[in-house]
């Protein structure tokens, strides 16, 4: 089983104060910790589990500038066999469409039975790269995948719907699956794995290597042009309780009591 997994590095933003940068079209990235996109952790894990069961190779691919090779090293440390870094200044500012075109150019020449992406990325939140890539590659695909069973040339997958409901689908291979969180338990990276990964080579490819032109990628090749990034307006101001934990707790107990909740 030859599996290609598209992964991405994203800033960890849940606990930090984000600041709009000088261009007004992005956020200040300095000081932000970078991590592997949550959905991709599950995608690479699923690929490794299938490889461990059925044999074959796992190839991790990412697109991005300086530093994002860390996410490829992480995949190699977990057990991926190959890593490809799509790196070119021209790729900067790519939306889901331009990103999928770059990934397509890199993947079309590879041998594969399965291509995985995350269902979405935690930063741009498009939920679209997988579907576009599938269509460009001419592959059957499923988004929001919660379970994968590989058969003889066919796949049975569960797709997550709303409210905890899932549906099952049959599709032929090769196929692209966009992976939803929670379908496995992503492994930790071992010290041994990190050591081994250091020795493995990462293939770097730029615009020319992929046979693309500048107009097809980056902002020029995107569907969407970002005009402005800003903190969302607050619709409702809560009453913020201040003071020591005991004082805050005391106030809340009063509120609960006045409403007959306790």
């Amino acid at each position: 089983m030859e599996i290609v997994v598209c992964v991405k590095q994203v800033p960890a933003t849940a606990e930090v104060d984000l600041v709009v940068d000088d261009s007004g079209r992005g956020i200040e990235s300095q000081g932000l910790v970078q991590e592997m996109n949550e959905w991709d952790e599950y995608a690479i894990e699923e690929a490794l589990l299938i490889k461990e069961r059925l044999g074959g190779t796992v190839t991790a691919i990412t697109m991005g500038g300086e530093g994002v090779d860390a996410v490829l090293r992480r995949c190699l440390a977990k057990g991926a066999d190959n890593a490809i870094w799509l790196k070119d200044e021209a790729f900067e500012g790519s939306d889901a469409y331009a990103t999928a075109k770059v990934l397509h150019a890199a993947i079309r020449g590879l041998e594969y039975d399965l291509v995985f992406t995350g269902a979405q990325s935690g930063d741009d939140n498009y939920s679209a790269v997988g579907g576009i890539l599938a269509e460009l590659l001419g592959l059957a695909h499923a988004q929001m995948v919660k379970k994968v069973e590989v058969g003889e040339g066919t796949l049975v997958v569960n797709r997550e719907l709303e409210g905890g409901l899932e549906e099952t689908l049959e599709l032929p291979m090769p196929a692209l699956l966009a992976i939803q969180t929670g379908l496995n338990e992503p492994r930790y990276v071992s010290i041994m794995g990190i050591r081994k990964a250091r020795k493995k080579e990462i293939t770097v490819k730029g615009l020319g290597d992929l046979g693309l032109t500048g107009g097809e990628v980056g902002e020029a090749g995107s569907w969407m042009k970002v005009q402005r990034v800003y903190a969302p307006p607050v619709e409702k101001e809560p009453e913020i309780l201040t003071g020591s934990p005991e004082e805050v707790a005391g106030r809340l107990v009063e509120v609960f009591r006045s409403r007959g909740l306790i």
């Binding site: 933003t13 849940a14 956020i27 889901a96 059957a140 929001m144 969407m224 800003y230 107990v253």
Partner: protein
């Protein structure tokens, strides 16, 4: 006359709420732009839907075929690409739902039209489409413009626009042919129900929700003790279930339970729209988060900017004291 086309989403015999939300937003745009509002429903034996939808649109397009009995992204995209090529809608609206995200990207490539996903607002902008989206888990908004094209496709976040009221004058219903040459490789084989849980938190009057801020499974008792002191139930955000720290039936949100308790206390939950969709109907919402910019504060009645490991035990203690004395 040029039109806006809304894809009607349905499951198990019922139109989904997002359909009416899209129709309301579509109507707002057609009214300001001299366009007509059409909606299209794909299904098997779906004349009932057509009748219902005709109260919300100028025109209902119906494609009725056994292959369309259940949603299938491949079948939908192959049918819709033909409809879009022929009718050239100025804008096609699809819900940003599990089905919408399965369908829309493929449809955009097949029809050669630009796509924007998960829009929380949108308007026609000359030959382009102006959209607002959220990024970084709802901590920032982005305004952007889709490049000029004959038409555009957008997926719209559910529960963002108010559903529209039925109108007096029903629109016309038009049957469209199912394309004869369709060969499908993807097959729907059935639904899988969520496993029944030990409790249904949707019935609880008080829920204490825990999110990734709890950091470790061994810290869950901090939240459980507060829930117990309040005689409430424990709820959680999705990552807590993904990690296996709490069972799926405790998950609040679009892919979990929708709850409307008298009191919802959220601790260490940032407030992604998927979580908010499941709890914003609660009577009283208290949010404890150490990040004053956490989006969930925007839905709270009371907010505590602080460490849940300090605030929750203090609250548990005070409630026990109160109950002990009362």
């Amino acid at each position: 006359m040029a039109e806006i086309l809304v894809l009607a989403e349905h499951r198990r015999g019922a139109l989904r709420d997002v359909t009416y939300e899209l129709l309301a937003k579509g109507r707002e745009i057609t009214d300001s732009g001299g366009l007509e509002l059409s909606t299209i429903v794909l299904g098997s034996g779906c004349s009932g839907f057509a009748g219902e939808l005709s109260n919300h649109a100028d025109r209902v397009l119906v494609v009725d075929h056994p292959d369309l009995a259940e949603f299938n992204a491949e079948a939908y995209s192959k049918v819709l690409v033909g409809v879009i090529a022929e009718r050239k809608p100025r804008l096609t609206l699809i819900g940003h739902t599990s089905c919408g995200v399965d369908l829309a990207p493929a449809l955009a490539i097949k029809s050669g039209l630009p796509l924007a996903t998960d829009c929380i607002d949108l308007s026609l902008d000359g030959g382009g489409l102006a959209v607002t989206r959220q990024v970084y888990g709802g901590k920032m908004n982005v305004e952007g413009v889709l490049r000029e094209a004959e038409g555009h496709i957008a997926t719209v976040r559910p529960a963002t626009f108010e559903p529209g009221e039925p109108r007096g004058e029903p629109g016309e219903v038009v049957s469209l042919e199912y394309p004869a040459e369709l060969e499908l490789v993807t097959r729907f084989t059935g639904f899988v129900e969520p496993p029944p849980g030990e409790v249904d938190i949707a019935d609880a009057e008080i829920i204490v929700g825990v999110g990734r801020g709890i950091k470790d499974e061994k810290n869950i008792p901090v939240v459980r003790e507060l829930a117990e002191a309040l005689k409430g139930e424990l709820g959680c955000s999705r990552p807590i279930v993904d990690k296996g720290w709490l069972p799926k039936d405790r998950q609040v949100g679009s892919s979990g339970k929708t709850v409307k308790p008298k009191l919802y206390i959220a601790s260490g939950i940032s407030g992604s729209f998927q979580h908010v969709m499941g709890m914003k109907g609660s009577d009283l919402i208290v949010v404890v988060n150490k990040d004053s910019k956490a989006p969930l504060f925007g839905f709270a009645d009371y907010g505590v900017v602080g460490d849940l490991f300090k605030v929750l035990p203090a609250l548990t203690e005070k409630i026990r004291e109160f109950k002990g004395s009362g």
